[in-house]
Symmetry: C2
Subunit: 188 residues, 2 copies
Amino acid sequence: MKEKLRNYLRINTKLNDEQIDSIASYFKPKTIKKNTFLLSEGEICKELYFVHSGCIRTYYLTTQGHEKTRYVAFEGSIATSIASFISQQPSLELVDALEDSVVYVISHKDFHGLIAELPAWAEFYRMLLEMAYLYQNKKIENLVTLSAKQRFDKLMAETPIYIQRLSNRILASFLDITQETLSRLKSK
Amino acid sequence: MKEKLRNYLRINTKLNDEQIDSIASYFKPKTIKKNTFLLSEGEICKELYFVHSGCIRTYYLTTQGHEKTRYVAFEGSIATSIASFISQQPSLELVDALEDSVVYVISHKDFHGLIAELPAWAEFYRMLLEMAYLYQNKKIENLVTLSAKQRFDKLMAETPIYIQRLSNRILASFLDITQETLSRLKSK
DNA sequence: CCGAAGCATTGATATACATCAAAAAAACTA
DNA sequence: TAGTTTTTTTGATGTATATCAATGCTTCGG
């Protein structure tokens, strides 16, 4: 059952098999139904998730109540409100499930305990931060240098899974446009 | 002369005085004139800077040739194209001096050598990545949830130094609006 | 399998902000 | 210090995208 998680760790860390088994034991399975929350606005993020199946997203709410999706994690990747997980301050990001999902949860406490204990885990965290930074950087780059149409086309070319698997409503909020605009964009 | 750098390390790391001296010796002084480049588009970023005096910025160029400022580092802070420094891929970001400046330079090679050698330096790098992530995250948050006026007002309230010290042209590109819009915003 | 709720599409209109243009002010520089 | 370049301001106009509204289409719980 935890084979997918173990495999992820095997590929993305320098941990040996014994260490991987030990770390995997800190991750506890959790089932979440579609449209339910892993983190609400204002909560402090105390957990990090490995998505075993389904789909978890992280998003903001504008003052007008519009959703702005920052990140979507499909099976085999990591999800959380990284900002709040880092700062341990109340989160402006919400985390919810877009499909019925199974995740493996590690607590903030265990996560940081492992950093102090295992250099290879500290190195993994560093790599995670680097990847997260690169992702955010690209997101800003796209927002400030491309038009709505260009952002859509680029997503289509580079990671079509988002377009295939997300509803128009979510996809639009991910591209920072409205449903209506996306609908018009698609029919061109 | 390197006292400002040493002090920065004293405050932001867990290094002892001896380690700080040793690390400071890897940083070499460099003088850059206003409007000259530390990194051009397409170059791989091989250096990280501590700004001793003056002002260094990081920005993108859109396909139409417009500048979009991502970050401005005043004296006492760190500057570089973090993305390219991490990935060692050609940079889409340019780095230049907005004022005559003095920086202390550490090479990518030395920087990573120190990570392997000194756990406290690895920890500092982790902290740097965390801060950089939080900064980028807030930038996205502001871009997608606030209007031009709201972004300006927020900057004014939180970090007025940008408004005091940057020209309207740079400030506008930092807020992701045009000079003209900024000028109108200010007179309200 | 039905009905309600959410989702997608299309059209008409509104708006925040960009673009273009020109003059005034400020900042370099020879 | 004059002269050139760069920056700022102001006005007129343009445009990408949002908003509002109506209709048809899915989906899913009962």
